[in-house]
């Protein structure tokens, strides 16, 4: 059993793709696109939470001076 489309280098000229599971590329592509979209949504959610926390703590224009000293 082999995950790659070749099991030896005896016929090197016949080898093209080198990666394992060559038949799964479409599925992997869809999974990666889904990951990108989910990541983008989660990032926006995390960013909103970050801003809400800053507002809830009542930070203002003087806060940076206080914490940078």
């Amino acid at each position: 059993m082999a995950t790659t489309p070749y099991t030896s280098y005896e016929s090197l000229g016949d080898i093209s793709v080198l990666y394992p599971f060559p038949g799964s590329v479409t599925l992997l592509c869809l999974l990666c696109i889904a990951f990108w979209i989910v990541w983008q949504i989660m990032q926006i959610g995390a960013e909103n939470k970050h801003y809400d926390e800053i507002k809830s703590k009542g930070h203002n224009v003087s806060s940076a001076d206080k914490y940078s000293s």
Binding site: V25, C29, E47, I54, S63, A64
Partner: protein
């Protein structure tokens, strides 16, 4: 690759593009350093991370669909023909991965990808200290993986409709990268609005000085360095132009992206001469200000880039200098007239410089063949229309639409309280508390 000579040709080309990619990485390092230098202390981390995270987002989306667009859209589609078969550049193509039958696709893709990062990073600088990271990353995807690569298919491809019908010539991307990114950035910052405190109630502008001008100079030096790689990456290093279209006999040469002959040696002189023109005029017009002298050096290169494959070095120098002066004046005129807060001068240095450079090239290169594969020649009107398409049609318009949509959803600009306190205020507070706790422990030990 069944003989040493053909193998040497392929491996040389593969290595050539690989080196350009590594060099171009310095452009992004430079942009990150530069933006941190411009931003205020309370925004450093978010400024850095915003620009850093465009790397993975633009990379994966350029792999998903950006690269396919370049090969599928040269005709428009439906301006000079239909959609082209570009299945070899799709995200499931065999050659878009380690493959013994192809050595070039990956490095060629990566070279274009680094151009994508640059386009998005130009926009990043203009929007610092008030755009949401999520919004920026969506906009970076639009320009980095959609609109700029459409303009490349149209005007930076030997069969692109702008090249074939308008005679558009833009060898090192005055409009293809810089014009579009400047137009894109202008639309985003118009919708976004200025930073709080940038303009007074009477409309006068306040200068928000860069926190660290020395980081800016290092950043711009790094961008210059990476720009060398960019120039080389825009060439095809070795091509049998003679056999293809030059009379039939073998004649190998370097070419530009349109497969027209040029030399790496010649463009190296022009790069330096246009940089010099920009720096010299920048130094004088800004009275020796480091930020503007370096920026206008960059503007000088950008302005001459469209014709630097064939310009004489004196022409490159003069164009670089003249455009640098125009760009400086235009930046402050636009800022005061329209209350536009372009934090790093990106619209001017990239958008105005690239567009004016294109307009000038139409006159300087008037009548030069625009392609070896058709009858189109370079004209002032062809370059002017091309500059308009780059700056407004593919730059300004999509950015305006997407920014308006994001703004209507409350996703474009950070809340006012956050902008005043600083994007990094929670991290600063945590560090302050950690330091206090550590010092207390240290004293009681």
């Amino acid at each position: 690759m069944d003989n040493e000579l053909s193998a040497l040709n392929v491996i040389f080309t593969e290595a050539y593009y690989w080196i350009t990619v590594v060099m171009m990485f310095l452009i992004h390092v430079g942009f990150c350093v530069y933006e941190v230098g411009v931003s205020r202390y309370k925004n450093h981390q978010h400024t850095l991370m915003k620009n850093t995270m465009l790397i993975p987002i633009v990379t994966i989306t350029f792999y998903f669909f950006g690269w396919w667009i370049y090969f599928a859209f040269p005709n428009g589609p439906f301006i000079n023909g239909g959609l082209l078969d570009a299945s070899f550049a799709s995200p499931i193509a065999d050659v878009m991965a380690p493959n013994m039958s192809d050595h070039i696709m990956g490095v060629f893709w990566a070279a274009f990808l680094l151009f994508s990062w640059t386009a998005a990073s130009i926009v990043s600088g203009a929007t610092i200290e008030r755009i949401r990271t999520g919004a920026f990353l969506l906009l970076a995807t639009v320009i980095g993986s959609v609109t700029w690569i459409i303009d490349a298919a149209w005007g930076w491809h030997y069969g692109g409709w702008m090249v074939m019908l308008l005679g558009y010539h833009d060898a090192y991307a005055s409009g293809v990268i810089h014009g579009i990114a400047g137009g894109f950035a202008l639309a985003v910052i118009m919708v976004l609005g200025p930073r709080i405190g940038k303009f007074n109630a009477d409309g006068s502008a306040n200068n928000i000085s860069p926190r660290n001008p020395w980081m800016i100079t290092i950043g711009l030096f790094l961008i210059y360095t990476g720009f060398w790689g960019f120039y080389a990456a825009c060439n095809v290093p070795i091509y049998n132009a003679g056999a293809d279209y030059g009379g039939g006999a073998d004649l190998f040469t370097a070419t530009n992206i349109y497969l027209q002959p040029t030399t790496l040696s010649g463009i190296t002189i022009n790069f330096l001469m246009s940089l010099s023109g920009g720096l010299m005029v920048g130094y004088m017009v800004s009275k020796g200000d480091a930020f503007w002298t370096y920026s206008l050096g960059l503007a000088g290169i950008i302005a001459a880039s469209c014709g630097n494959d064939v310009y004489h070095p004196y022409q490159a120098m003069i164009i670089g200098g003249v455009v640098a002066w125009c760009v400086y004046k235009l930046h402050y005129w636009v800022e005061n007239k329209f209350k536009i807060d372009d934090a790093v001068g990106a619209v001017a240095v990239h958008g105005y410089a690239g567009s004016i450079g294109l307009l000038i090239s139409g006159f300087v290169l008037w009548g030069m063949p625009a392609t070896p594969y058709g009858d189109a020649v370079v004209t002032p009107w062809g370059q002017a229309i091309g500059a308009f398409i780059m700056f407004f049609v593919l730059g300004f318009a999509p950015a305006w639409i997407v920014s308006k949509i994001l703004d209507s959803m409350g996703l474009l600009r950070i809340p006012r309280e956050v902008e005043l306190a600083g994007l990094d205020i929670l991290e600063m507070e945590a560090k302050h508390n950690d330091d206090a706790q550590f010092q207390k422990a240290e004293r009681s030990a």
